[in-house]
Symmetry: C2
């Protein structure tokens, strides 16, 4: 099993090109900003030291200062009920943003934990807010970003409210596939950074159900799955299982 299954298939330049105006390392920048604006935005970005697996980016109740963009690795955001078990709110892959739900109350309403070695950019929100006053296109971009996150969660409501266990897992895998593809990774072969338990906590299913579904998908020739490593064999059928519904094709808020 190769260790770098998730390595880019296309080179960074072509991603940048596809994104329009990208810089700031892995951070995708809003389109519609000129070079000077991008510079200004670049100046407020903080680069933090990398997080290790299990490190918290923030915890529920922490005061809100910044939103974060995943540069590499992956982050899980989750809220936990009194009884201890967690509802995973989202898995954040490189290029995706988190912390947007904290703007309202000025504190984080869910926790975020690194699922592997992860690098993030930190965007202090007060600076971003101030900058967006002067840059209309940035303001618009942030409105869109927030709206995008609302959309993603509305799709998730549809999945949790209407879909069977099978459809949920299919939608989840298809969504992951799409998100990797968009970033130039393989859409057919990747390593999950989350456990079966965490997938269950995301999809509202018991671990055992998730495990059984992986087994069934395997038996049906839909995919090969050895623990974290997933190889999708029949993408069309997978898509068919998903697009019976409107799906889960959105990734998290991204700047482009």
């Amino acid at each position: 099993m190769t260790a770098d299954t998730n390595a880019p298939v296309v080179n960074l330049d072509s991603i940048k090109q596809a994104c329009g105006t990208c810089s700031l390392g892995a951070l995708c920048l809003p389109m519609g900003l000129d070079e000077k604006d991008v510079d200004e935005l670049g100046r407020i970005v903080k680069r933090n030291r990398p997080l290790h697996r299990g490190d918290h980016l923030f915890r529920m109740g922490d005061p809100f200062h910044s939103i974060f963009v995943v540069k590499s690795g992956s982050v899980k955001s989750y809220s936990s009920a009194q009884d201890g078990d967690e509802q995973v709110v989202g898995f954040h892959l490189p290029g995706e943003m988190l912390g947007l739900d904290a703007i309202d109350r000025g504190m984080h309403s869910c926790s975020a934990i690194s699922m592997e070695t992860t690098a993030v950019c930190e965007l202090p929100f007060d600076r971003l807010e101030e900058l967006s006053r002067r840059l209309p296109s940035l303001q618009h971009q942030i409105f869109r970003l927030l709206s995008k996150e609302i959309n993603r969660e509305e799709e998730m409501l549809l999945v949790l409210g209407k879909k069977s266990a099978e459809e949920r897992l299919a939608a989840f895998l298809f969504s992951l596939s799409l998100r990797y593809k968009r970033r130039g990774y393989s859409d057919r072969e990747f390593n999950l950074s989350m456990s079966r338990q965490e997938i269950g906590n995301y999809l509202g299913l018991a671990v055992e159900t998730v495990s059984r579904l992986f087994t069934r998908f395997h038996e049906e020739g839909l995919l090969e799955a050895q623990r974290k490593h997933v190889h999708i064999l029949d993408m069309e059928r997978l898509e068919g299982m998903v697009s019976a519904c409107s799906s889960m094709v959105n990734d998290h808020a991204r700047m482009c």
Copy 2:
């Protein structure tokens, strides 16, 4: 059965007072805006003719121009999967906002339909955006609004992902109660504007399950329910059933 169970218990003035800077009829205005700003905001608000039961405010796919605030009545927003059955995304009561999910793609990603005679204010988003460039506190308010909607939906994810049918209905009723209370209506007695089917489509349950739960709640002395009319008898126990989880206490984005 009185027709005006949902009539305000306190008078309008005291609601205004509680809201801070309220005007524009039933529309609550952002706090932190001075009178001049409020005037400016007031000038961009369009007042539409009232909607009748069954009128669409917008449909999925419609181009996005405005966000809406419910002044009186109630609106259901829903997305429908290919197979026809709908997932209710939210019920919008007076003072609550809808249409925020359309900003990202420039078109509505769900439909909104009036559940009874309803009055709404229309806020053209381009004007709002332009105005918020000049009014930092308005900009901040809109960021918060969008974030609040993300929060509400994250709570809903927790409900759909982790809660039993009983807990879901309890959370729903408790949430309604709280939202009515905040606006000066009775929190113990109100008329539902949605059918059992629509409640089911919101909570991810079959109609029959919803109906049976109402019956059970009635038998247990939790409430009296005659079709649309609900009288909560044991608020503490209801709250207990809900706060076992973190609940569904948020209403939709509101300006104050």
